[in-house]
Symmetry: C2
Subunit: 343 residues, 2 copies
DNA sequence: CCTCCACAGCGAAACGTTTCGATGTACATA
DNA sequence: TATGTACATCGAAACGTTTCGCTGTGGAGG
């Protein structure tokens, strides 16, 4: 049987309250501190987190609610979040929505939130599937702080924190690269039109065109919507055949992968036939001679920022003066490759 | 303030013990069952997990201790483990060792184990870094069941469960593919010589050669040891120059990536110059025309099996009759590509 | 009719912590 | 000397569950 605070009290002759106070960072007489530490070592005392949680209503866990763990971008963030939360003493309760269609994903995201809530967490970090944030109403109502990563939910912007890159700027820089190389017939691929991130990146892309006085052809701005990965591959191939673009900008991880597949299927080579700027490091390292230009999100910083905000919110709330939500915007970086031909 | 079991008791007029019994699956009179359910709904009662844990010493969490989340192979397993554990009512406490050298990884794995132990978990699923299993002694001593994935630790084989593929068979199949295509000068790359998985795959590879009466050239069997990814790239390039192999077998995810980089750097093409069989789906989907033959591990099944074993062990132990450790071996599958030239 | 058993239900005592309000001490100030 | 203050310590009462051992009831078996 593990040692308890009572055993420490018995061994040191001190009261429970004193031990507890010291264990929680309070100040006690030097000789008592020494006695307590000796007893802790001798008895191999570990504080019982369950009892502490019961009393304080703090679990020391943060729920990390994500869509499927599908790409390196998410993974790197997850890893960093976990490391930083741990450094702050928080455990990370991982909870992914189930794979399937978008509608299933949205549904299971609600279940994922419910699950972490049932288990008990002090806060939630979320990469949302439900664009409207319905799934976050319950935690918010319960006073549990929420931090979003990668996306923003405008309806709830004043109640939740978020960490994102400057999507507009990132897309603008990517577009500039293609425009500087002389490309005018550019196919631009974005996620669904209702998708916050996708819309912002599309804005940035169009900004770049407009800034130079080039026309924006809405037909060449493709929103993938909620199509499956197979059908979006078909859509991309179709658009390639239709417009014969000299360049393609793919505005996220999946779209970049599918663009490469589509070009391969159409028998087109990068960059000789079509130039490409992609996202999130797809095709940057695969050893086939073509190294894609790629918008790289600072995953470590995103993860660290999310963990830090979360930790601050929780500790502030625990002391009774909850912090207002924070929004942090980081800069992405355009990593050079050899996938853009100058024309 | 959330409703408690006492509120249910007051509302229904029943005793605490009765409510608790019903909530834990016990049998009560039909009318009481109805009354309890009504009250639970009306008061929006949720059982307080902390109180339950305090009393039962079960936390409902499984610690998932991993090396860095670096590749899709691990991710898919993690995802599946998480889904299946959740279906059994368990939370997943993710805990990764910190990135860095192998020695740092081993050290931080100990810290990761300590952390989940401190937080309190009912079991641990682990992809070990420490080949000797030192990090698992403490949980084992505490009576916390451990399940390994991907690797095995012979010293502890009788005390912990594990889920792996048939590494020998998988490597043998891969080698057969190259041998059938007529290759004799094959470079074979494995992880460190002390690495259980690496050794088994090397055995399988050599088996295939011997079975056909071909000589095994130990110089062409490369163990990477604990080299960094940059220096192992150099090593591969050096060996390629030295032996001018017609084919390469790369026996894990990282080695396959580095093999492709090395070939690219050496100006060699797949499969015209060198044939390749890789591992874990690297190079299977990148849209450059070359699709690698690849040993695919059944990640979903591995994850499900690990979760299932864990759940069984925990529930059995909770009822006082702990189960003996289980070892489950699954079959990998050789996925065809176009990276092997017949000579 | 009596005994016995199975079964619901019950109260109370834990589980190990935190925290409130009170007590005691030492020391500075008037 | 009397008074006030700061501070370390303390006991006891929670927090919300599970579970042990008991009581009461209804019905089967003799």
């Amino acid at each position: 049987m593990a040692a308890t605070i009572k055993d420490i009290a018995r061994r040191t002759g001190l009261g429970l309250a004193t031990i507890s106070k010291y264990l929680n960072g309070g100040h006690v007489l030097p000789q008592n501190q020494a006695a307590i530490e000796e007893a802790v070592r001798a008895l191999d005392y570990k504080v019982n987190e369950a009892a502490r949680t019961l009393k304080t209503r703090r679990t020391g866990y943060v729920g990390l609610v994500l869509p499927a763990l599908t790409n390196s971008f998410i993974m790197e963030i997850v890893q960093q979040i976990q490391l930083d939360l741990r450094a702050c003493g928080f455990g990370t309760a991982l909870c992914c929505s189930a794979p399937g269609t978008d509608s299933i994903r949205r549904q299971t995201e609600l279940e994922a939130i419910d699950f972490v809530l049932k288990k008990g967490v002090d806060g939630i970090i979320n990469l949302p599937q439900n664009e409207d944030g319905v799934h976050l109403l319950k935690p918010l109502e319960m006073g549990i702080p929420v931090t979003l990563i990668d996306k923003q939910i405008p309806e709830l912007a004043d109640r939740i924190s978020s960490v994102m890159i400057d999507n507009v700027g990132a897309a603008r820089t990517a577009a500039d690269e293609l425009l500087n190389a002389g490309h005018r017939n550019i196919l631009a691929l974005f996620h669904g039109e209702t998708n916050y991130t996708g819309r912002r990146r599309a804005e940035g892309f169009m900004d770049a065109l407009r800034q130079r006085g080039y026309p924006v052809d809405p037909d060449r701005i493709i929103y993938m919507g909620t199509t499956s990965s197979a059908s979006s591959l078909d859509l991309i191939r179709e658009k390639i055949r239709q417009f014969r673009p000299t360049a393609i900008f793919a505005a996220n991880f999946g779209l970049t992968s599918r663009t490469l597949e589509a070009l391969e299927a159409e028998g087109l080579r990068v960059p000789s036939d079509v130039s490409v700027v992609g996202f999130d490091g797809v095709g940057v390292n695969d050893g086939y001679g073509v190294k894609l230009w790629s918008v790289m999100q600072p995953t470590v910083q995103i993860g660290s920022a999310a963990a830090q905000i979360m930790s601050e919110q929780i500790t502030a709330a625990a002391q009774g003066n909850p912090l207002p939500p924070q929004v942090r915007t980081l800069q992405a970086q355009l990593l050079p490759g050899n996938s853009v031909r100058i024309i």
